[in-house]
Symmetry: C2
Amino acid sequence: MHTPHPRPLDLLARELAILDTTTSLLHWDAETGMPPRASAWRAEQTAYLASKSHHLLTRTEVDQWIREAMDECDPSDLHSLSNLRLWRRQHDQASKLPAEFVETWEKTTSLARDQWVAARASSSFSTFEPWLTKLISLARDKARYLCDGGATYDVWLDLHDPGVTCQDVRDCFGSLVPELRTLLSPAMATTRGPDLLSEKHPYPQESQVKLNRAVLDLIGFDWEEGALALSAHPFSTTLGPCDSRITTRYTEDSFLGSLYGTLHEGGHALYSQGLPKNLHADPVGQAVSYTLHESQSRLWENIVGRSQLFAPTLTSLIASHFPQLADLSPSDYWRACNKVEPSHIRTEADEVTYNLHIALRFEIEAALFDGTLEAAGIPTFWNELSEKFLGIRPPDDANGCLQDIHWSAGLFGYFPSYTLGNLASAQIYQAATAANPTLEPALADGNCLPLLRWLQDHIHSHASLYPPQELLLHTTGARLHSAPFLLYLKKKFL
Amino acid sequence: MHTPHPRPLDLLARELAILDTTTSLLHWDAETGMPPRASAWRAEQTAYLASKSHHLLTRTEVDQWIREAMDECDPSDLHSLSNLRLWRRQHDQASKLPAEFVETWEKTTSLARDQWVAARASSSFSTFEPWLTKLISLARDKARYLCDGGATYDVWLDLHDPGVTCQDVRDCFGSLVPELRTLLSPAMATTRGPDLLSEKHPYPQESQVKLNRAVLDLIGFDWEEGALALSAHPFSTTLGPCDSRITTRYTEDSFLGSLYGTLHEGGHALYSQGLPKNLHADPVGQAVSYTLHESQSRLWENIVGRSQLFAPTLTSLIASHFPQLADLSPSDYWRACNKVEPSHIRTEADEVTYNLHIALRFEIEAALFDGTLEAAGIPTFWNELSEKFLGIRPPDDANGCLQDIHWSAGLFGYFPSYTLGNLASAQIYQAATAANPTLEPALADGNCLPLLRWLQDHIHSHASLYPPQELLLHTTGARLHSAPFLLYLKKKFL
């Protein structure tokens, strides 16, 4: 018996995976280890690899290979069919983008990051504005290349969440925002109390690192195939089939930011670590959508990490790393880590106001893509929307429109995935605990592995076998809807 | 006026530089941040990029481009002539290697690293032996492809130090080894004394990191274009025109290993940081040889870092990081950091015995390439040579033939560069201080910058404009010889 020759699409998949994971390493290193003046050359490197990748994916033979594979495919082989459907999507999308555009896009987003970091540090929107103008212009170009005459914002949403449109998101916020605004006051009352954690600072960074590592152990993060590092803006990334890494950031006056950042990014990493390794280079082996990715991160960060059920475990772990908190009770800790209150920074927002932060960003992006807003108008519009949704105005742009890394990295249309991910997380958790009544007792004992196993079996291991809405339907019996999330918040805060 | 089109060799240089610096990042990350199970995929990545690089460099057009550029070159343009001479060397060497060999070589050396780490940790030569056999076989193949019928070890020496032959190294050790053996006893007597540093351990890693950063500041390391990290085996690497990084390792019972590791690798980084940035992608813009590279690292590590002149500055810096050493005198510190005594680990050896460690490795490599030694025979031969040169036998292979990373990384013929670099460092320092009598008074004041400036002007900035022996002749008025090094040791220890 001899091994058959790998088919051309399999060879291409391997080559693209090598280029893409190498690009991911270039980005990871830029955030975690690269010295400041290295960024110009780094932009050359990422642009070069992106061009190579684009060139490989758009060769005319690829179209032919997909057709041939389709013709040869057994119609009952769902796996191969899904894989070819995704190849088709990838090839067709890439083919609509000119090579020069791909290089310019990659170089600009790579260089813009430094500009954003500097602008945020000095809260100087005006220094970032020309870069943002350029990024928005390129993002509109990209959407125009891809849109086939449809709405350009829809293209960006679809890139992260296949099938989701601007109208879907508008409808979602249309019902969600009033409910959240109604919930706000009672939830603030429920979680009001003395600030027990701030009183006891400082929390040395070294101890926070140890705590975060212990929490990652607890949720089942695999250190043989992952790492935790420090960066200015927390993120997670996949550098290969056995290499899922996350970052967090530290301030010594509170450990909550680094801890919940770790749980959030750790949730992303658990999804990556649960993807089928034998398919890691295939389109069908990738995470299915950003909504589903965020559902995993928000589930571990909030539904588990901020639950009453898990509070005793977390409180005793925290006390073992910070002796000054030896007397902290689980209920006091629960209140401290759930404090509901309008605030400026999205990543540190509570579960009620978080989605209002996203609603604000959605309005801005929608306006950018329907052409009614330009970069120069963002700060004013941001502050008005902050007043409208959260009832507060940022003291400066560092706490307002400069706070997020996304636009500088070319991530437009990403923010809605956070809210859709929140909805999905509640829907999935409801389904999981209904299907398996032992999950919550295990969590109460500090044992996260049964829940992780369930998520692996019902979400992670399927990768992109089904379209995202279909996967959710399979897993939870319903398409994405907001009822489970609102029920969850009401049970929690009322 | 318009910019002329870049010539094909310039475009190729840029492309190769992108691929090579990206490969360097893949290696850097493998040593500093990669989780354990990621190594198999990492080997795929490095093999892929090496293949691409080899493919680009060996295309038949390249030969034609070099010829055309030679024809067009102004005979008085030394810079372009040198660049084309080096292009010719690179292209011809690469063209002699089959593509499959390049991929196998890259994959094997990438995977062998893990095997070496594990074997050293358990001091188990037998688990590494099959890998070493494979590596030696590939190294012999590589040399046979490149040698044009000459001696295979000469090829490996020439790869690191253009022009150096096995006979050159044999002649060098022939005179050096007896001199060093004669020096050993008196130097041991000079540096004998109570072990003042060990008595005062532990030295917390965090403080060692701060000390190392302060020492790098002192010697002029540019943090805007460099970084310091932790790895199992210290090394330095260049990831781009503005990105020179180094690693060190820590044990809390002594800070000397991490400090002198940092000075050594820092010396390499100063050379890289001093290369002309506008030529970073050109063959003529690279470091000229490993001997010259090691001359820079050994100069900062030993001639400066272990000098009486610099001891007051270093002692007070050390005391400011380790309060338990507040009473340490510069002369006591000088004795502690210069203690001469045969020992097992090369990287921690004193200046007299260090070159005996290299003589041992040279004998082994020479025997491997003349075919009189195979992997299985290395431990016995190593231990015999250790007895012969150093008068001691390693207690196990971890302290013997498994101690160095080099062979597992495919670095054969590298070790002699350390000794040749030691000779060059003394010769260069002698020339520098003779030419500029203010350098040593500045060093005595803790000011390293005049010396660094001299090295930048006379070594670093020339990159590969001249062949290495010629550069040394220009800079010091003599070809490489051992008299300045022996004079230096005798003045220091007698």
